[in-house]
Symmetry: C2
Subunit: 892 residues, 2 copies
């Protein structure tokens, strides 16, 4: 190892690195090194460490020292193989990027480096296969044009990518000659095509294709380094939350050839089925081909299965190579204790391993593989729990588009993937229409600019939701994820006509009733109905096993955010241990009740308000009764009315008129009252406990309903564990004023019913000031629940509904790397939380503290909650299994 | 002193309390005690301590022990005077409230306690004056009815107050008899009236008037205690920021009588003129009257002056009493070193002092008295600086309504007093109209629902501003105070018609062009033009003296918030030592520029934007040139563009059409672009440095303009001290991205001009997260400036524009006692600030830290800034003198 130069050599004979040096060698380089150490057949070569990438990006050029050291390692490889780079027995190299984390499709490869006008004749002579040599040469020119000249140097000023142009030249040749596919191309054809490529190269970039082997090599290395800061790579990193400072390594490796003739081939495989997790060898290969042909889809690859029926299978075509490959497969799985994704080439019947890495898998496969491996005694239960990603569990529960469909259909639009899972349905543009048709059993996709609580009823009846505005934590996104519905938001090419009869999606006109399919996991939108599938996971399958193991490890309790008995039921199925947030306002959006609620809001006096509240009381009592009964024995935290009142009266003229009649007011008066409720910044306006301070009678009614339901259940022999939560407290006095109302109601009921009830009164901690005065509040409160959505909004001064206009720039420019609404911002919001927990526990050691923001379902945030010493996290029902796993992983 | 019972006796012979025991005895009680100690003639009595008030309010009743101890002290008084309470030589008592802080008009008095069917005959016999006795008795019945029965017990269910009803009975009697005024009423008349009062009492309250002297006394004591929690008192406390826990004391004092005959009288006086501050005795008295007659305005009182011309003056009418009173006046001023407000009664030519307290005075008087007293060697310069309230300075600079006018005119509406000082003008309902007419020299009152930056130009041309919405820190209020304009906001009875042609103010229809007069100091609105006056304070008057003394004591620097050279000039006159906040956006609202600015905002590409920005550059450069020149040698902090862009395009259809033509877009396209800019919570939206991140070219243009102006001035021999301030930073990376743009522009300019420039780049700390990560930001910033307006909004989660709907309830219910937008909330916002200062100084010890929110002009907040260790405060020009004084007071 040349430590100073940070170049790591690898071969079957001598290898500097190993699998643990991922940060230095990148994933690919570390695994190549490891395979060498395992004695597997790997073509020799060397890896340029990731730190060289940063150096290069700073300097913008390869230093002379680095070039010297590359040469040294080339020489070493030459000696080992007895061939020479640019020489008479020409050695060719591949240059591949390899970052410390996998960035599929984001990384660059250039093969066949070293083919020049000088080496081509030698190569033909040595291989005796001029077709192969020109085929390889045209590949080199194309990859070099694409990766080095166009992407890294940005030299192509035409409207068509160089790759497209070159591919169309090949297509033209085949068409002229009448060839069905590439295999008909003759040596002469490839040579002519290479010449055409060379001309196109010169014309496009203004310089000739480099005819010196080292020029090719250095160009390729620079391009790989530069690719780290390419637009695609940066976007991918932003999306996947990968720090941009890590850089990529470069692997320079001697070429082996799968396209030298009929005894050659190349393939990719997974050591188990990555879709289902089944323990079968799963892959594809092509005879007489180079690696990229398998994935490019030009020729249809053959399966790699242990099956004699398929005559094209590797097992039949090259039994020895298959046998060796299968033993490599088992060796690798045993060594890595995990499913591997491998690449190989067979040159003249000899197997060469080019890559191994942890195989990507679906959620279902991840769970199946982990639990199978426990059974196979490959890994422990602890390891299984550690290994499955929490989000894979979520994914495993959702519908998806059948893989075949994606090949047949092109997406017509793209938005932010706000609610994973796929769905299709007939398009409607209003919540009313969605409800009307949904009730009739029609599958509906609700398409809106954005959604509001008024749309809830329609969203409920929709299969999927598509909006043109809003971000990953907009109202539509939150509701959809809560209900496990697929959802795409912020689709900027979507323009809904004001008639609500049609919309333009890019160039496509979408009319009401047209079918759309949404892939909420990727953000892709398709025309028509694509076939979907959903893997059923029973109550005794691998997921149940895995989660039951997880429960043994975790200490954090997992509650759910649920507003209805149905939500509660779902959450209990998923293993929730209580309700951490039951929002009472959603109950008012019910058609029957909202009218009374609106009348209450628009009342001119306390007396009028009391009258309307009286009518709402039995509804609310019934709601709470049902929820508390469903959650019998488990804690249920009910939040008192929170949203600004005007959210309830975003209504049309006709409804206003009805209200006016009912309230015995003129239309103008009603309009004026509605107008008064409008706010400049409703997020920071008259909501939360501020409503309860202004209208104590609302708090009183809700307390009556909640405690009344609990009293009734207790009398019936149930064990209700109710916790009343006062929202948006910023000052101790707000809390005390509301608590006093509740306690007065309780004392009244206790006296009237001659019965006691134990319950808790606590508060949401969701504005910075609440964190800052937590010590005082804690003295008076039974529990705290962090509302991290609002806390994040106010700590940053970011409105969740408005970040759409600047967050894209923030990610693009690396101002922030992770959306703080998805993952708790530990430095800022986290510091406030930590301060609050410390101060609160200082004044009341045993105070129960949880979190009920969206972050409660985010694994990273759950880990942070554990660090803070919280008692529980609460998340939407569909996230409960995720949280159970994540909470276990925190402990491991 | 009966310490256990907390009752304090006072008399010329023996006195338990003194003037320093204000917290225990209340202001009135402490000063009565002090007068006794000074040997002044005070009728004996005793004070119930304030703590007894809280006891009473908790228990709701007077304890037996307390009653026993009251009796003991009554006996002591009886013995001292040789009379007896309820006895044959009847002693009567007064019961008066007296809180630790002055609450004028809020407190209760009941006189003549002890007159019953038993004592009345004795009293007539002893005094030989039955007219006096029945006059006193009817007063007792009325005060008792009002204070005890109606206000404290709330027993009157009729629509008319008992006082009104009783007064109308008196009026009726006088009318029937043909009497001009009360002095014609005979003994028999008063007796008959007393009987009528007794019947009315019984009818109204369902019980007879108490005929036992102790029942009267205890009822009065309870009523005074209860009055502490009366609606008026609570509102007053909320308004004046008086803590509600302090409670009121009760003074029970032997009665002396000014209405026993022609040798009697009563009066109130100030030891100096409270309006002008002149050192002359200033007061009023009435012969043969009880105290309340002087203030009630039923009879016209006579002056108390050292003047022989007025035959009704006390000097002429009762020379001996005047002489004694004048010597008391001098004794009190010498003893208290301050102007006093006194009450006295003369009974049979003997002077009795009933009260002394620090006299309320106008701002002008406060300054004059303080500086005069320095000259008179009564107080030191330090004491003068300490004594004048900072807000009195502000008040002294403003216009006011002539006192006589207020007696002739009734207010027709009422709002929050948002900008003190008075103004009148013709009403207009749009900023355009205000500008149009204002330019022609017309005096204008701008009446709006609320104002926005778009209205600035119209506000500039208005004398006063009246809005129906918004609170004390709404846009209208901030701008008005900044410019020293009178302003009333949140006038809830104001409804502006959509035609913008008229408005309803309660029942009054106000048409465009009608005249209104605003009293921005009280919130009162009057129809028509009331006469105003303004006391000129020259550059060498008492204010100048006082402030120059203050400057010697203070250490905090005082800067100003100024956006124009005119603001700067005003602020320099007022003593500003730099500009702490120069808002650049106001410059764009200029008619000529706003169109270009709008085109920039609505540009479809960076290139278009660059073009429009290029046209704006010379304007901005000119602006900064003028400001930096005016402030030569003093620091000028320029804040980069801050408000959400849509604030600039709140425009009408016609303007939209012009924009569409200019931008070569369809009207629909322009509307769509405008629509996209709309936000749910603009306060937390795309603004501040977020704009600079999205559109770096805006930051670049502004940097070019600011630095360009400074370069030019430096070349011309000036000494520009410019500081560029990046707004709304929540994350270090935001700051760095903007700083980099500025530094790149600087490097470019430096190279081109071959000239260097020293300047600073810092940030506003105005969201909680900035405080939490201050340590990191400080490493990279040259200065911090707390934007406490926004910091308060985000720390509490209160939108300044929306607090109008719930703050009234908050004050009423004592949730918060002080508006956090007026005075820094030390517990919450202050803790964040303190954390930020500590962390910032830990990473960069000498970093300059100031404050530029509205709090910079609030004395209490200035004191807090001193505690935090800030370097400067910045406030609007008119507040600079206030800040100079407040900053000096902090040090004293």
């Amino acid at each position: 190892m040349n430590n100073k130069q940070k170049i790591y050599f690898f071969s079957q004979l001598q290898t500097d690195g190993d699998q643990h040096m991922v940060d230095i060698l990148g994933g690919k380089g570390a695994n190549i090194a490891e395979m060498c150490k395992l004695g597997l057949p790997v073509p020799p070569g060397f890896t340029l460490a990731t730190s060289l990438c940063s150096d290069y990006l700073k300097k913008g050029t390869l230093t002379l020292t680095l070039k010297k050291n590359i040469k040294k390692n080339i020489t070493k490889t030459e000696k080992m193989l007895g061939k020479s780079f640019g020489g008479k027995d020409p050695l060719l190299f591949s240059v591949r990027s390899g970052a410390p984390v996998s960035m599929p499709g984001m990384m660059e490869t250039i093969l066949n480096i070293g083919l020049t006008s000088q080496t081509i004749p030698h190569m033909i002579q040595r291989s005796g296969n001029s077709r192969f040599v020109y085929d390889s040469y045209r590949r080199l020119i194309m990859m070099y044009s694409d990766v080095v000249m166009e992407k890294a140097l940005g030299l192509n000023k035409t409207n068509h990518s160089i790759r497209e142009q070159m591919e169309s030249l090949l297509k033209k040749t085949k068409k002229t000659r009448g060839y069905k596919n590439d295999s008909y191309m003759t040596s002469e054809d490839w040579k002519l095509l290479s010449d055409k490529y060379l001309s196109l190269f010169k014309k496009t970039f203004g310089v000739p294709f480099p005819d010196n082997h080292y020029d090719q090599l250095y160009g390729a290395v620079e391009a790989v380094f530069a690719s780290w800061n390419g637009k695609r790579a940066k976007e991918y990193r932003a999306f996947e939350k990968i720090p941009s400072k890590m850089g990529t390594a470069v692997n320079i490796q001697a070429m082996v050839f799968g396209n030298l003739g009929p005894n050659c081939g190349t393939g990719v495989a997974f050591t188990r089925n990555p879709s289902t997790g089944e323990n079968v060898f799963f892959g594809e290969w092509l005879p007489n081909a180079q690696g990229e042909d398998v994935v490019a889809g030009i020729r249809t690859p053959h399966p790699i299965i242990d099956d004699k029926k398929s005559k094209n299978s590797l097992f039949v075509a090259m039994p020895d190579a298959f046998k060796e490959l299968n033993s490599v497969r088992k060796k690798l799985e045993k060594h890595y204790d995990d499913m591997q994704d491998i690449e190989f080439t067979i040159q003249d019947k000899k197997l060469w391993m080019l890559q191994t890495r942890k195989g990507k898998r679906t959620g279902i496969a991840a769970i199946k593989i982990a639990t199978d491996m426990v059974e196979e005694k490959l890994i422990s239960r602890k390891e299984a729990v550690r290994r499955v990603k929490p989000l894979q569990i979520y994914e495993s529960l959702l519908k998806n588009i059948k893989p075949g469909e994606l090949e047949k259909n092109l997406s017509v639009g793209f938005g932010l993937p706000a609610g994973p899972g796929a769905s299709f349905g007939a398009v409607v543009f209003s919540a009313e229409k969605a409800e009307e048709l949904g009730k009739k059993g029609k599958k509906i996709i609700l398409v809106r600019e954005e959604t509001s609580p008024e749309d809830i009823h329609g969203m409920h009846y929709s299969e999927g939701i598509l909006t043109s505005r809003g971000g990953l934590t907009s109202h539509a996104a939150l509701v959809a994820r809560g209900w496990g519905k697929s959802c795409i938001v912020g689709c900027q090419t979507l323009v809904i006509d004001k008639s609500l009869r049609f919309a333009m999606l890019g160039k496509e006109k979408i009319k009401e009733g047209d079918f759309l399919t949404l892939n909420g996991s990727t953000g892709e939108i398709f025309l028509g109905r694509l076939a979907l599938f959903q893997n059923p996971i029973g109550s005794s399958g691998p997921l149940t096993d895995l989660l039951s193991w997880a429960d043994k490890f975790r200490k954090l309790k997992i509650r759910t955010n649920a507003d209805t008995p149905e939500d509660c039921e779902k959450a209990l199925e998923f293993g929730a241990e209580g309700v951490g947030l039951c929002r009472t306002e959603h109950m008012f959006f019910d058609e029957k009740r909202v009218h009374d609620f609106r009348k209450m809001i628009l009342s001119g006096s306390e007396n009028e308000r009391l009258n309307h509240l009286k009518r709402l009381l039995p509804y609310q009592t019934k709601d709470f009764y049902a929820i508390l009964k469903k959650m019998d024995g488990l804690p249920v935290t009910v939040r008192l009315l929170d949203p600004p009142l005007h959210e309830f009266i975003n209504i049309n003229q006709k409804e206003l008129e009805v209200l006016a009649t009912d309230l015995d007011l003129s239309l103008q008066e009603v309009e004026e009252r509605v107008d008064i409720l409008k706010e400049s910044n409703p997020m920071l306006g008259h909501r939360g406990c501020r409503l309860g301070v202004s209208y104590p009678e609302i708090t009183a009614m809700q307390a009556k309903a909640i405690l009344g339901a609990a009293f009734k259940l207790k009398k019936e022999g149930y064990n209700p564990q109710v916790e009343l939560m006062i929202p948006l407290v910023s000052h101790l006095n707000e809390f005390i004023s509301q608590k006093n109302i509740i306690m007065n109601i309780y004392e009244d009921m206790k006296a009237k019913k001659n019965q006691t009830l134990s319950f808790k009164v606590g508060t949401m901690i969701e504005v910075p000031r609440a964190c800052l005065v937590a010590e005082n509040i804690a003295k008076n409160a039974d529990f705290f629940s962090f509302g991290t959505n609002d806390l994040t909004q106010t700590t940053f001064g970011f409105s969740r509904d408005d970040t759409g206009s600047f967050f894209p720039h923030y990610f693009e420019k690396n101002i922030i790397e992770v959306d703080p609404f998805e993952q708790i911002d530990r430095e800022g919001v986290g510091r406030l939380m930590s301060l609050a927990v410390k101060d609160a526990r200082a004044s009341k050691n045993r105070i129960s503290i949880g979190i009920c923001g969206e972050h409660g379902g985010d694994p990273n945030s759950i880990a942070f909650c554990k660090i803070l010493g919280l008692d529980y996290v609460s998340c939407s029902p569909y996230r409960v299994p995720i949280a159970r796993l994540a909470a276990a992983q925190v402990e491991l």
